[in-house]
């Protein structure tokens, strides 16, 4: 986790908005995650998404989203694009379809199945 945070901060410090030519899909996904999701779903106090997932799953699943290994692509897509309790839809102007594909690749990178 510590390693991820550090590499993510390094990424942020280089380029918060635009993709570089050399950026891999996973790197792009991590960049988008840090810019658009981490502020609510990351580690630390007062992260609304993390608090909500902890309430929902207790200790049975990691509350910090990027530590999950069971998220399925269609599930992520659905949560991002539609209204769910506590999370309003993320519009295509905020995260494009291509960026969402990269985000899904990042969030499913450690999936066990």
């Amino acid at each position: 986790m510590r390693k991820l945070t550090l590499s993510a901060i390094t990424l942020l410090c280089t380029l918060p908005f635009a993709a570089t030519a050399q950026e891999s899909t996973l790197e792009a996904g991590e960049r988008i995650y840090m810019a658009r999701c981490e502020y609510c779903h990351g580690e630390g106090p007062q992260k609304g998404g993390t608090m909500m997932l902890h309430r929902r799953y207790g200790d049975s699943k990691p509350a910090v989203l990027h530590m999950r290994t069971d998220l399925l692509p269609d599930y992520i897509r659905n949560i991002v694009r539609t209204n769910t309790p506590g999370m309003t839809p993320v519009r295509i102007t905020e995260v494009s379809e291509q960026e969402l594909d990269a985000l899904i690749a990042f969030l499913t990178r450690n999936n066990t199945n």
């Binding site: 942020l12 410090c13 280089t14 380029l15 918060p16 908005f17 810019a35 502020y39 609510c40 106090p45 007062q46 992260k47 609304g48 694009r81 539609t82 209204n83 309790p85 506590g86 309003t88 839809p89 993320v90 519009r91 295509i92 102007t93 905020e94």
Partner: protein
Amino acid sequence: MTIPAGLTQGQFDNALGEFREAVGSDWVFTIDEHIAMYKDYFSPLMNTDLQPIPSAAVAPKNVEEVQHVLRVANDYRIPLWTISTGKNYGYGGPDARVNGSVIVDLKRMNKILELNEEHAYALVEPGVSHYDLWLEIRRRGYRLWTDGPSPAYASIIGNTMERGAGYGLLGERAAAQCGMEVVLANGDVVRTGMGANSNAETWQQYKHGFGPSFDGMFFQSNFGIVTKMGVWLIPEPPTFRSAEVYVENYEDIIPLIDVMRPLRHANVIANSATAGPNRGGHVEGAQGPGGGLPPGPPGAGGPPPGPPGWRARLGFYGYDRVVETNWEEVQDAYASTIPGVSFHSEKYTAPYNPDTMLTESKLAAGIPSFQESSLWNHGGTFVSMVMNFTGETYWDFMQTYDSLYQEYGMRYMGGPLHMHTPRSMMTLAGVPLSPTDAAANQRAIELVERLIQTSAEKGWSEYRTPLVFMDHAMKSFDFNNHALKRFNETIKDTLDPNGILSPGKNGIWPQGMREDQA
């Protein structure tokens, strides 16, 4: 598919074709799945036929595309509704007021056009969020602080245009604005202030320009589309101290406010101080600006666990000796007035590390923490009243609101107070909404309308209101037979004769859509 009133399906299809020419076919959204992303899921009108449904959304990338969209809307008389990022939660989110509106989504205009450390300002487009700007300042290593709401995905321009509040030295967000570029309904592009000089070097440093100043006209209005705005930033202070003042008794809110007032006027307390109900003393990272609020919208709910104590949150910034002297003076003023008062404070010095800062300190340091998201996550609608900066006024306010809430089976024991404008106070009262029970929400609407009306009679006015209450709030500004409303309408008719820009925004309707013309 919903289409704008007065158009045939064929005419609207032609208009959509022209919108696609304007912004590219990828950026015109018409299918239900996409339209659903432009809905306010916290609306008091949820699950009723009254919540407007957009006919489409268009997302221009630059000023030229905005102008093209306006040409099409004028040609077809299509009502537009402009959003920056659509995060105005608790006040309407991305919702329009008119059914069949085309949402103009400015999120793709997301450039930080200039970030100036020497003069401490930024020039931004509407899609830039507070979080984006904060990240960019850190990326460049500039010694600048931002200020703004803690749900920092809000657009800087959108939140400023709504006169939002932060918690630091520039918490009065409307006062941190300096210069803007506006596209008028006829497509003309105007720059305000010194920006009207094509070679201006002080567009973001000098607010007033030459002759009349029009910036204020574009706040909470529908007179133009703001495409660029200057925003002042804060030079990083050598020392920052975040502090809280705790009082134990419900009645202590009166001296808590009255001691603060002269200190705030004199800039001894220079930040956008807040106060609010508190239960159980200091809790690190306690929820919301009021601290220790019970779950649910601010101030509302029932039955209450008993009257709360209170907490004020303050920030001190600058040279170390000044910070320490001011904080000591504030403690002396409170200790000599309120028995049992207690204090908690944390001191930080540059260079600052946000990761090690207390959550509650982050607000006053302008560090995005998303603490306040919980305010609207529970589902509620806001009444946001500006009133005299006195304890007596607030006590009267609480009694007045509590008696009205009780008629609806709830209690009002006080909500967050914002002192972001140094000569007045703003307080939030929340009324819970149900995501499923439209009848309960209708009762909530009735309560809010009564709160607004009763407040107006007391001399308290809304500084901002959810869409559904905009006409009601506008009616309470009634001096000289609603002269302000008539003045707004005169300007509206002159600048936007076809009434295409955000009809109904803040109770400003174009000709042909006014209640008295219907």
